[in-house]
Symmetry: C2
Amino acid sequence: MSQQFELANCLRFLAIDSVQKANSGHPGMPMGMADIATVLWREFLRHNPKDPNWLDRDRFVLSNGHGSMLLYALLHLTGYNVALEDLKNFRQLDSITPGHPEVLDTDGVETTTGPLGQGLANAVGMALAEKLLAAKFNQDKFNVIDHFTYVFAGDGCLMEGISHEAASLAGIWKLGKLILFWDDNEISIDGSTKNWFGDDTASRFEAYNWHVIRDIDGHNPDHIRQAIKTAQLVDDQPTLICCKTTIGFGSPHLADTSKVHGSPLGEDEVALTRKELNWKHAPFVIPQELRSAWTAIEQGKKLQKEWTDLYASYQDKYQELADELTRRLAGNLPDNWTQVVDAFLEELEDCTSDVATRKASQMALDAYAPHLPELLGGSADLTGSNLTKWHGSIDIMENLQGNYVHYGVREFGMSAIMNGVALHGGFIPYGGTFLVFADYARNAIRMAALMEQRVVFVLTHDSIGLGEDGPTHQPIEHLAMLRATPNVAVWRPCDAVETAVAWSAAIEHKDGPSCLALSRQKLPALPHEHNEDIKRGGYILLEPSSEPDAVVIATGSETAIAYEAVKEVNAKGRAVRLVSMPCCELFDKQDIEYQESVLPQKITKRLAIEAAASQSWYKYVGLQGKIIGIDSFGKSAPDTELYQYFGLTKEHVIKALF
Amino acid sequence: MSQQFELANCLRFLAIDSVQKANSGHPGMPMGMADIATVLWREFLRHNPKDPNWLDRDRFVLSNGHGSMLLYALLHLTGYNVALEDLKNFRQLDSITPGHPEVLDTDGVETTTGPLGQGLANAVGMALAEKLLAAKFNQDKFNVIDHFTYVFAGDGCLMEGISHEAASLAGIWKLGKLILFWDDNEISIDGSTKNWFGDDTASRFEAYNWHVIRDIDGHNPDHIRQAIKTAQLVDDQPTLICCKTTIGFGSPHLADTSKVHGSPLGEDEVALTRKELNWKHAPFVIPQELRSAWTAIEQGKKLQKEWTDLYASYQDKYQELADELTRRLAGNLPDNWTQVVDAFLEELEDCTSDVATRKASQMALDAYAPHLPELLGGSADLTGSNLTKWHGSIDIMENLQGNYVHYGVREFGMSAIMNGVALHGGFIPYGGTFLVFADYARNAIRMAALMEQRVVFVLTHDSIGLGEDGPTHQPIEHLAMLRATPNVAVWRPCDAVETAVAWSAAIEHKDGPSCLALSRQKLPALPHEHNEDIKRGGYILLEPSSEPDAVVIATGSETAIAYEAVKEVNAKGRAVRLVSMPCCELFDKQDIEYQESVLPQKITKRLAIEAAASQSWYKYVGLQGKIIGIDSFGKSAPDTELYQYFGLTKEHVIKALF
């Protein structure tokens, strides 16, 4: 029995025994990938368990996140803040060892994985961030940004469509420091993959311009070691290492079956596996000599020290760059940020022309982005429609010091890659698509929210107002969907001023994504007397001269319609308040006093208008209130006709108020 | 100028002029693919313009649906019910020529396309349906089901992740009668694709086990013709024909640029294009000799007549099969359907043991499916978790007369393929995944709703009740998201009886998809006195002895919790009604009297409980009401602990009622 094998068995049995104790979890993958993990983590991975946030650490992503115990075992053994007790608490309430790796819960976990394929896309984002930061900040003899990104992925990840989008981009971006280990065990939950996964995956990745290393025995350390060395030498292509493995390796009855994927082995099989692998230690017991061979604490300190020394010299020599890198990695905004925003808002006071909010978004970018070199923009092939390019945008494919990414028609890939970029640090990514195609990116937006990442989704063409493209392109339920998602700031600004505030709020919102729902069509500039209230998410836009007895709530393109209606009825003696509500989430976070001052309980005559599903609005109008919304699919016609057709008109608002 | 070229120019100019007249639309793709379309439609496509629903017609899918004018021009010229006037009304309100092809709006449109990549997946579903129906119904010398499925797709479709999922399945299913034309024009909206689409697409498809024909000049009819002939001869692989084309072919200044993708050419460029292509006819004028060459009416009649004759003999010889085929294609249920359902519901009256609703779903399948040979089940690699297999399930890969599809880990592909199967006719597809991964399938569920297709999405593990897998796997906002989507019946049954009714309703719901949100955990059987009301979506499950002054509304796994709470408070003298609301959409469709009888306006003390985002419930409880929901992400822990943690308890309900 080689020590190498024993070291891998440490991982196997920590996984087996933790799953068994929790009576829940996924032992098969850790047992199958333990040998690969052992070689990679012990011989290649540059990291420091005592400083999980060391900026130049190699990134390790477990895209097949159900195998979380493999990662927890690695973190425990190498010296992270993951104790034996934590492993024993696997999958228990408030433990740092949840069922899937959660970036916010555990030191050393680089991203939250579990929804298959997204870890791979996150890793592409991390490798992209590394490459772009290196191009910007490294100087001759000072490679202060210089790390690999390693990914483990299973058959499931590679069956998912997002693997296509992410791998295609990694190939064209020539991410040479991205190394992907495919756990080719030919088993998925339904059984042998032969009937549903027939791809020649190696050739497929070659078609993406990847460097592919075929036929690696994933249980042979020499194979694995040689493959990693070869992969590291190729610097203009990402590498796929195809590792033949056995799921549940070592289990006499369950290895190579789907039964070992997602259930504990059972006490009997655990005992038999101990025998089979000649593992004589009790659950959670790791002999000291194996612990000593596993710990990466000293090595990690040494590696980081070398880097810290290098960085100290870099700081001396390139102080400005170093300060900028430090600022960006800390996620802090430039010192002049508030002035920049204020100046732009002041400038907008003079802007009275009609402007589509997608155009207003571009104007905001033109104003803010020159001060935010960390902004990494892009679009899923709708640049000219989303207006995500500003005057200083430079395609990263033309210049690695650029700041704009053409993601192609890949909404999900773009979004998950942006999550990876944000997780890596050094950038604030934003990316555009049509609001309706937030559908394609759905789970990546959710993951940004769950991981509390600052990512800005620019979602234009935000209603039937997009006109002739028709129902497939007209969002209806999408605002409700995004608003129902925890921790997403959904902005639907009504004009250039609100758009500018929305952008500033999105940039300042460090712990979660923002979605900007923007109009295709032009919208009038509305008079804002209290700009400072916009950031509260909902505020009084128009107050009647006497005490209001009714309130109209509007967002985005419908605010101007409501404004005209309210002005008209008030001129005729009514006393109606108009509330603009560009961001419900923020309004809901205000103190009760503020909320009451805007929407007093005693005013029960309430009307909400939004060119979207009504579901979001019952919360604000109640059973007595009315909603002018759209609860059917859209239609193909010019936008002005559609507004008539769906009753989103001044006349309809006035009628509803009487 | 060959007539062939003139024929293609008919398509080009109908597209150019219609887009110009609408002042909106996408001329580039029709101009680029006109030559391919001309060869395919005139020389190969077997169809009958006068009977667009002829069951054995070849299917034609325009996956790059923005090129809708190409399809409308084809339908017009070959003789479908699309008049010149309709082309002149392109993209106008209530025209039959909307911006993107809509299956419900226009004869001859096989599926609604526009959301890229999904048309390809729909086509895979159609080709699968054809293959399975053929295996079931064809008899020696009676190939009554025997047609091709042709797809046009652009770079955008092939960049999308779903193209990976759909193509991979088409390959392993050996769909030899699926022929895909790739419009390889190297232009997407952002410009030349060289910086964002570097795939070797031909090799990629070979890696999926497709037959690939490279290097076809998409403007050379001989090339195209030969490629189609070759493709038709390969019967055990789908074929990809790689067609080099020029987007906006014929436009002197705009061809081969992204400017021609999605905007009218402009009057000047239209004139120049006329000159360039030597097209001397005014807008919307097609000379008679070209019309004569285009019409497919006689040819279509003849083709269908041949088939009708064959089918008549088939009916004579195989009457039972023919009757069954006719029934299935009409989408009618078997005569004994109502008895089958009633008998099962009666049987369930004796079932008092705790059953997870996912298990109850399997029980319903076991009862109903033997009578529904049209049921085509499957799962995105979660068969044992979704419990989508019933005792008569047979994998189609083992037997083409089977009824179960292992889709692999491909939620989006599965869903869009199911849409294609439903569109083809002959099947009621259902497929399983976890509710949280409805995210991955989001836009395909939406498309099923928009297209009014009977597809059943089996979405298990429907709340934090799934336990230890944690927040990535625990749906929160998903019920709200699905409920906000028009025309989706979202069921969340509370026990075996409600699950059985939900399944029967889903089977009977011919004009839209149903989503069944089902529990992982066991749930108690609740006493149902009025089973017949379950189909109304919401009904009184427990009535107090005196007139109620408060109402609790619950769904799914929280109904039993509410039941215990209401029983307890009523025993202590309160008068609280419990309403079970398994399907809000259906409840909302009931007449006002029924709704009022269940939720009387005068009862303003209302409480809703659901282990999900609260957004759906304000509609029913109003501003005075209360909601026990979850508006944050879940956690990894055993389910019983999570119910405590999130306050989904009898005690909490009781407290909220006082």
